[in-house]
Amino acid sequence: MDSFAIHTEGITKSFGALKALDSVSLDVARGEIFGLIGPDGAGKTTLFRILTTLMLPDEGRAEVCGFDIIGNPRAIRFRAGYMPGRFSLYPDLTVEENLRFYASLFGGRVSDNFGMVEPVYRQLEPFRNRRAGKLSGGMKQKLALCCALIHKPEILFLDEPTTGVDAVSRSEFWDILSGIKQGGMPIIVSTPYMDEASRCDRIALMNAGRILETGSLDEILSRNDMPVYAVRGENNYRTLQNLRHAAGVRDAVLFGEYIHVFAEERLSASVLAAVSGVAEVKGISPNIEDVFINIMGHGKK
């Protein structure tokens, strides 16, 4: 069990009538980037808060770095770096002051572990006397990461670090995370963006408080292989309605320019092409988003 950075069994948490987490069990190995992927309200933040000892679960148990989250929260607080989903810096303090404050919160100095944050902080250096509130979104997020790392944690929790950040900064951010991972630090990161799944070693798909699938992206994709067709229609909305009612079609979802059709085995491309309003049909291999929507649809039915 000690080989896991995080180990949870049956974590359940309710807020009134709402079941935010429903028997969540997962393992995060040391030295991997683990992605928690799911839409808003899936329970990602609640799970993070329980794992970082901010909240107590109603049921279940969990260990972080080998310490029990209920029995030994203090040990975890010394070892975890946490970047909450909301902007969590002091807007009236400068970049440098924020970093210094977070370092001293753990009883250290910036210089103690500067190597840890140096690659990221170098980008912030030109703005070190600027107030954190005046930074751009991408910069804020980098500073928040520095602040979460400056005490050299043994595990890093990042709650939706890329939400509300532009595509370039998002990509840069993932590059940074890959760099940090090289040092062997396990990183658990949540995101609503399916396309970021490919940057994680392993992922868990979450919805409505449940974990739907766990594994590497390839594992999940191959486990959920199914015929998917990309269909382009003359009028996508009407075509979508027609497709949904067509025999052999399990579900059809609008995907940018194309409609992705999740089909039963017996359905062939030529049958689809005959559906009224269909202009173009091509067979594709499902991406993670197709898989997610498909699993979610099953969950509903």
């Binding site: 107590l56 010394f78 909301r86 303090l93 404050f101 001293s104 919160l105 753990f106 250290g108």
Partner: protein, 352 residues
Amino acid sequence: MNRSFIAFVRKEVTHIVRDPRTMLIALLIPVVQMILFGFAISTELNDVEVVVATPKMTPAIESKVAQMAQNPYITFRGYITTDKVDHCLSSNEALAVVVFSRDYDRNGKFQIVADASNTTTAQTATGYLTNILSESKAAVAPNVRILFNPQLKSSYNFVPGIMGLIFILICAMLTSVSIVREKETGTMEVLLVSPIRPVMIVVAKMIPYFALACIDLVSILLISRYALDVPLSGSMTALFALSFVYIILALALGLFVSTLVESQMAALLISGMVFMMPVIMLSGMMFPIENMPTVLQWVSNIVPARWYIPAMRKIMIEGLGFGYVAKEGLVLTFMAVALVAISVKRFNNRLQ
């Protein structure tokens, strides 16, 4: 742990210094209030405008009027005929009219007619006039001597009241807002996940506001001593000791509020309305506690200012020492300890 505590205090100081509004509220409001109450708002009545109506002039009346006109609080506006009394009051020419009886020389009877559209000034004015005009040939004439505040200066009364108010304002309001702000901005989450103990967070938050309150205490004392001539004749040690306890109590109140609410707005409202109103209404600052309905008198006992303000009066005005404010001191200390204990316990080291 020590380093993180110092860094925390420094951070709090930076927050305050970088926010001009906080600084303004904390340092200017006491001064403005003192000056306002000291020079502009006053419950004393100077220049009571008085006219005299008399059916006929006699030397006795003339000498009474002369005596009255000499009084510094009275401005004598002249004579009118008895049929003009109502007109004179309704046209605001005078606040009060003294009407001498036709047989004044024999029976000494006179009447005071006052404009009571403002009851306070009417009462004070009739009081002044009765004192001056009453014949002391009665068998027993009370020899009134007013102790501690012979001129009945209102500043003597309100300085302790302002102190009771200011510390609640500065300490409770600003601390609660500053703690709740961390909840609102999400920084509290990071603080709680860090190994720093909640007690440390709380104490580090309190220190800068305690310092601010001390600056206010000193400036209030300086203004009252040198600008308002409040005697400050009692034990300074007792004054400071009690004030420190009261400040800590106010800080604990702020902390307590911050454990109840989630938004800065709510914190402001609670500290502003729920705390300020009792200080003004129930502490004896404005309205004597003895005149309140019994139930409100009981309620007033849980208002800290109800103990602090009278104690400050005793020390500052009556010139008393520790021994005479022991009861108030004990009650305040008990309240402070209890509130700090409850708040620190309530200040979760997890999210609700």
